[in-house]
């Protein structure tokens, strides 16, 4: 067994070196397609987190007109708290709104200076028991005296999700195409390797080597190419995380776009598995035609 293992590894490395250029081409397409797949996965993870954090925050903001009377304000507050869909409600006065605004942008003094404390409207902040009732509640509140506008994050989240899903589908289609290309490229490198060794293969068959014995080095070759591709893809994703994402996080701390190392590890394992499948598939594609006795 030790001899066989040594034999297989030796044959595989020879094959990989013999067509270096083609090997590199196969590895790069594998890396590219797997990286896109990884991007989709990481993107999905980020999105899940982001949506999760937003969903908890689906809030109705009932902005009040400046000319609203204290009685109207009270009356509105009572009406809101009596609604069955409402979980909590609190009143944010103009000054509180300004304080909140100052806190949010404390690192951008320019933004604070440009806003007059009086410019921000007072509002009722409503937390709902179920985010899905936001639309119904908002229509009921919209016509009431003193109400200027009712806003809720749900619509924006929904639109964003639709967009994200579209993006995801598009990237998945590109990924699928690239994966098919990868498979064919790997098949092609294997075919060339087989061609280069046709004499050896002929002799192997003649002296009674089993088909599997003949196939294994070629299958390993395809798998090795795809596995290296998966490693390169993960490397690029990791680089992107540290160089781009982490810096972006520093610049825009309110964006919920953290990706942990655990996610990257998960992605790597999936890419490796997909890579192995692609590599095996490509090899079999190349070996199918010949190598029946």
């Amino acid at each position: 067994m030790a001899l066989r293992l040594g034999y297989f590894i030796g044959e595989t490395t020879t094959n990989l070196r013999r067509n270096l250029l083609l090997t590199i081409a196969a590895i790069s397409t594998a890396a590219l397609s797997l990286m896109l797949l990884g991007l989709v996965m990481v993107g999905g993870e980020v999105l899940k987190k982001a949506v999760g954090s937003w969903e908890g925050k689906v809030e109705l903001n009932v902005f009040l007109r400046d000319e609203i009377t204290p009685e109207q304000t009270k009356e509105l507050g009572a009406a809101v708290s009596s609604m069955p869909e409402v979980q909590t409600v609190f009143y944010e006065s103009k000054t509180e709104a300004y304080e909140e605004y100052k806190r949010m942008f404390k690192e951008s003094p320019a933004l604070i200076e440009n806003v007059d404390p009086e410019a921000l409207p007072a509002s009722y902040r409503i937390k709902l028991k179920n985010p899905n009732t936001a639309e119904a509640v908002s229509t009921r509140l919209e016509g009431r005296p003193g109400v200027d506008d009712v806003q809720f994050g749900g619509e924006a989240v929904k639109r964003f999700l639709r967009f994200a899903n579209l993006m995801k589908t598009m990237v998945m289609v590109v990924t699928a195409i690239l994966m098919a290309a990868t498979t064919l490229l790997i098949a092609n490198t294997i075919r060339l390797a087989v061609y280069a060794r046709r004499k050896e293969i002929g002799i192997m068959k003649l002296v009674g080597a089993t088909n599997w014995f003949i196939r294994v080095p070629f299958i390993l070759e395809g798998v090795a190419e795809a596995a290296v591709g998966a490693a390169v893809a993960t490397g690029m994703l990791t680089g992107a995380k540290f160089l781009l994402l982490d810096n972006a996080q520093k610049e825009f701390p309110f964006l919920p776009v953290t990706v942990g190392v655990d996610v990257l590890l998960q992605v790597f394992l999936v890419l490796l598995a997909v890579g192995v499948v692609i590599g095996t598939l490509g090899s079999f594609l190349a070996l199918r035609r010949f190598l029946e006795v």
């Binding site: 001899l3 002799i203 003649l206 002296v207 080597a209 014995f213 006795v293």
Partner: protein, 229 residues
Amino acid sequence: MIRLENVSKVYKDSVVALRDVSADIQKEEFVFLVGPSGSGKSTFMRLLLKEDEPSEGKIYVAGKDIGQLPNWRVPYLRRNIGCVFQDFKLLTNKTVRENVAFALEVIGRPRHVILERVPEMLDLVGLSHKLESRPDELSGGEQQRVSVARAMVNRPPILLADEPTGNLDPATSAEIMKLLERINESGTTVVMATHDHAIVDQSRKRVIELENGKIVRDQARGVYGMGGS
């Protein structure tokens, strides 16, 4: 050891390669297969190796009907049959020793067996002094000896030789012939397809002559042509 029962082989384009061929080759026999090009000698050999299926008839090798053999068993059939060819079929990027060892490696023989048998076999064919040479550094006769060593290193009970002296001068041919006879004497059944009149006439062994795919002669202690050509 080898039995053909009414074997015919018709290729797709209805070229008939063998017609109703029956032959029985005993264990430890030495048989010449003679006949002009295209008479069916190569098809005969290919069928024994199950590189091709007969259109009709049955072939037995070592008592087994090879028509019943599932594909995955074919490599094991071939381990019982050593093969030598006119063009040697040696790997030019491997040394003599590696070429012979290759035949054992690829059927998964353990290292100690390889280390023991390869020098032994190369000694038998008289090449122990050329272990590290490459095939292109050897004469034709020496290359054919390597290929015989490769065919026999796994000790198969049958040796098929397809025009083994086709590329060699008469003196070298005679040496290869001597080697094959020695292998035969040590108990291996040898089937040798040849065009070489001198060798056949000299050896006086069994001759099966094919013409247009038919056996026209099966003679113990025969010569190449009836007419003495």
